[in-house]
Symmetry: C2
Subunit: 107 residues, 2 copies
DNA sequence: CTTCTTTACGGCCAGCGTAATTATG
DNA sequence: CATAATTACGCTGGCCGTAAAGAAG
């Protein structure tokens, strides 16, 4: 399970085909198709119905799509929230180490 | 950014050291330390304060921890929710393809 | 010296991309 | 034949684990 698999899944779910999804995700169809397969294997339930017209979302896929979007959004929100603390100190907190770290030249 | 990085981060945040975290996550310290570094680089904010006693969570880390737990929980919930559709059909729905897929012997 | 984190080095698995195959209308 | 997904094959990159180094009490 990986975040990329979730992104690929959303792309396929939203476009209805691995071709459009591969363009959206900037990868070729084979890797994308494999990741979708791997994702389905991991959740243990087929998320799509393969047809000659493309990829049709199944009920489990619809449910998973909502969760996938939520997770992806949460990941972005986590980064934004953490960045919101850049240079901040916890005013009124008893945590002294909230002060900026010493200039120990990391890197 | 990966789910493993999130798991490692939670382990370090909860144990306060890379040693205990590495035991908890079943990996050695170096890979874990590298992933934490990579995570901090990706979010663009130092999440921990390195001390000779271990890893101290910084305010940004506290915030990120809450999000990380939520994300990890959401991932698990997504799988459980999708599995809840196993063998189900959308009763009353117009979606015929909710029936089980044909036995095409994939894999 | 002891404890803890980080950097260096070597080997392995996973994932990507191109080309070929199968299924449908 | 045209379209769409999947499988086969070779290669590169990232990650892990062991060993060594730097920092603090």
């Amino acid at each position: 399970m990986s975040l990329d698999q979730l992104r690929y899944f959303v792309a396929v779910a939203e476009t209805g085909s691995t071709h459009a999804a591969s363009v959206r995700a900037c990868v070729s169809q084979p890797p994308l198709s494999r990741q979708i397969r791997a994702l389905e294997a991991e959740v243990g339930v087929p998320l799509f119905q393969r047809t000659s017209r493309g990829m049709l979302l199944r009920p489990a896929g619809v449910t998973f799509l909502q969760h996938a979007r939520s997770i992806l959004g949460a990941v972005d929100a986590a980064v934004v929230a953490a960045r919101g603390h850049a240079g901040h100190v916890a005013a009124g907190s008893a945590l002294e180490w909230t002060e900026a770290p010493p200039a120990d030249g990391r890197g």
